[in-house]
Amino acid sequence: MRILLAEDDVSLGESIESWLELDGYVVDRVTRGDLAETALATHDYHCVLIDRGLPGLTGDDLLRRLRARRDTVPAIMITARDAVPDRIEGLDLGADDYLVKPFDLEELSARIRAAMRRRDGHAEPALSHGGVTLDVAAKQVQFQGAPVDLTAHEFAILHALIRRPGHIVSRAQLEESLYGWGDEVESNTIEVHIYNLRRKLAPDLIKTVRRQGYRLAD
């Protein structure tokens, strides 16, 4: 899962980045609104965290443009402005959630999970399909009731596939959810992880769609 973090306070940004990486997300961090817009235009993100007071392009404008483009990526606003009218304004701009500084990072994680869950159309915290249950918060995967031990990358790929079962996820999209900027991408990593997932779960659980990518079996 790849998250864009647009926060102009470097120290706070670093901490959030470290925290989300411990959560198993891939985090791209920018300190300017215009850079965030470029990143959003060129990459697929599963969630965006936007500080309202960004230089270059304000968080409000960034969100406005994002929604004007009909980009439905879950967006959580992070701000020091906590008055009720500010919250209402932020949510009406198209934010999925609104977090007031200083916030608890556990809460941030929970809200990110909730925002992504809602975007995928799930209400329940755990995702299930074809006997596989994936609990994002607990980072646990069960197959037919038995816990399965997955690496962080395997978990991320399974998460990307199980979010919208039946939909094809491209190789590039999977890579995006595994690697942040500057990370070395090995050419056959995705294949290796898919192979391992098939081995640990079920051989026919993940279908390969030629030239397009992968999807979960129905």
Binding site: S11, L12, I16, S18, W19, L22, K101, D104
Partner: protein
């Protein structure tokens, strides 16, 4: 720098009354002076006229005297028919003997006949002051002395004064009336301004309406508006500073809190127990700093100057009390305190966030300063035109000396060993203030502890009751 005047003059005066007395007083003074001048001129003129009469009389007497010397004095007729023009004459021989005289004329000559020359004399005879003209006969040697009592002359002046006085007094009364009415009318813009200022709400620092045509009133209005503007800007600056400072502190606080959390996660308690304890303490300190900043922001936001802008609504009492109690449930559980809710009134009217914060602070205080395993009771009940929100505990209570200082910012009762920043009750007091509510401290439960009551005006009453 001018020395600022710290106190008003002890006794004020009415500008209107003073204007009337000064205009009237000066007109009376001017009237008196001009009357005196008129009288002085009149007196001179009268004197000149009478002197001419005397001279003329003397000539006549001399002419009459020529024919009557040596004869018995005939019944003389006073010269001048009017009583005010009574002249008295003497015919005096060269040796000083009065040959002939008028009825009221003194028996002795007015003037010693040895004195030569036809002229006027001011003499005293028979206890009266006289004005006398002496004329000598060129050949026969006797002289005619015609005198007039000074008093007769003064009487004329007094008559004149008397006839002048009444119209003058009448004019003064008329002047006083006209001045009174005009001055009262001219000063109405000032009264209007006073009423306008008095009718304002304490938080209204908007400029005064400049509707008077008078330059003086306009300049007062302009000066007042300048002052109001400066005051408004100063208050606004202070508000903004508190809000900005608290606001700007949030991001670094968030950075600090986040870093601590990342550290806690990367050094779990089972791997580095000593570090975990320190990190937990660090986090608690962090939360205290955060709470302080939040409280400062709340205080800034609840500024009475902007109380009018605070949105008010009907609030379900039970839910509000329950929410506030829930917010303190963790703290209560830690101290084994039992919170009971008794909402006898169903609807409150006010700002929900503000009332929630106030109740939460009160409950938090009751739990923190109450006793272990104690009781905390939250009640909402009708009290006349108010709804009384009461939070009571059965703890140690507060010493009477400390009671009135409770709502001061940063005041904390010493020796309680409870963490806090002393802003909680200030916020409650501010919430009460912006709601036009009264904050009362009394005994708590079962005759012990502290009971804090917020007397919230009913809906409708809240609109007219503002902070005092």
């Amino acid at each position: 720098m001018r020395r600022p005047r710290t106190s008003r003059p002890a006794r004020g005066y009415s500008l209107r009354r003073r204007l009337i007395t000064t205009t009237l007083g000066s007109s009376i003074l001017v009237g008196l002076v001009s009357t005196l001048i008129v009288l002085a001129i009149a007196r001179n003129e009268v004197n000149d006229a009478y002197d001419d009469w005397l001279e003329e009389g003397a000539r006549l007497v001399l002419a009459l005297g020529e024919g009557s010397i040596g004869r018995d004095a005939a019944e003389p007729r006073p010269i001048g028919a009017q009583p005010a023009l009574r002249l008295d004459y003497q015919l005096v021989s060269r040796s000083g003997e009065v040959l002939l005289r008028g009825e009221d004329a003194p028996k002795r000559p007015f003037v010693d006949p040895a004195r030569r020359g036809d002229r006027y004399y001011d003499v005293r005879a028979d206890g009266e002051d006289w004005r006398v003209y002496v004329r000598h006969h060129d050949t026969l040697g006797f002289s005619a002395q015609v005198g007039q009592e000074r008093d007769d002359r003064s009487d004329l002046i007094w008559d004149m004064l008397e006839s002048l006085a009444w119209p003058l007094v009448g004019l003064w009364v008329l002047l006083g009336l006209i001045n009174g009415i005009l001055i009262r009318r001219l000063l109405t813009p000032l009264q209007r301004m006073t009423r306008g200022i008095e009718a304002r709400s304490p938080s209204d620092l908007s400029p005064l309406a400049d509707d008077s045509q008078a330059i003086e009133v306009r300049s007062i209005t302009a000066a007042l508006n300048q002052l109001l503007g400066r005051l408004d800007r100063a208050l606004e600056a202070e508000r903004r500073f508190t809000a900005d400072a608290a606001h700007e502190l949030r991001t670094p606080l968030a950075a600090l809190a986040s870093r601590i959390q990342v550290l806690q996660r990367s050094h779990p308690a089972d791997q580095a127990p000593a570090l975990a304890v320190q990190l937990q303490r660090l986090r608690a300190d962090m939360m205290r700093a955060t709470a302080l900043v939040e409280n400062l922001l709340q205080l800034a936001r609840l500024d009475p100057q902007s109380a009018d802008a605070l949105p008010r609504e009907r609030i379900a009492a039970q839910a509000l009390l329950q929410d506030a109690a829930d917010a303190c449930a963790q703290a209560a559980a830690k101290r084994n305190a039992v919170i009971t809710i008794d909402a006898r009134e169903s609807v409150l009217y006010g700002n929900r966030d503000a009332l929630y914060t106030a109740l939460r602070n009160l409950i938090h205080n009751a739990v923190s300063y109450g006793r272990d395993g104690g009781q905390v009771r939250i009640a909402a009940q009708r009290a006349g035109q108010h709804i009384a929100l009461t939070v009571s505990d059965d703890g140690e209570g507060v010493a009477p000396a400390d009671l009135e200082r409770l709502t001061q910012r940063f005041f904390r009762v010493l020796g309680t060993n409870v963490a806090g920043n002393g802003l909680g009750l200030s916020i409650v007091a501010r919430v009460a203030q912006v709601h036009g509510a009264e904050l009362r401290f009394g005994p708590g439960l079962n005759g012990r502890g502290l009971g804090v009551t917020l007397l919230l005006p009913l809906e409708g009453a809240a609109a007219t009751v503002r902070e005092s």
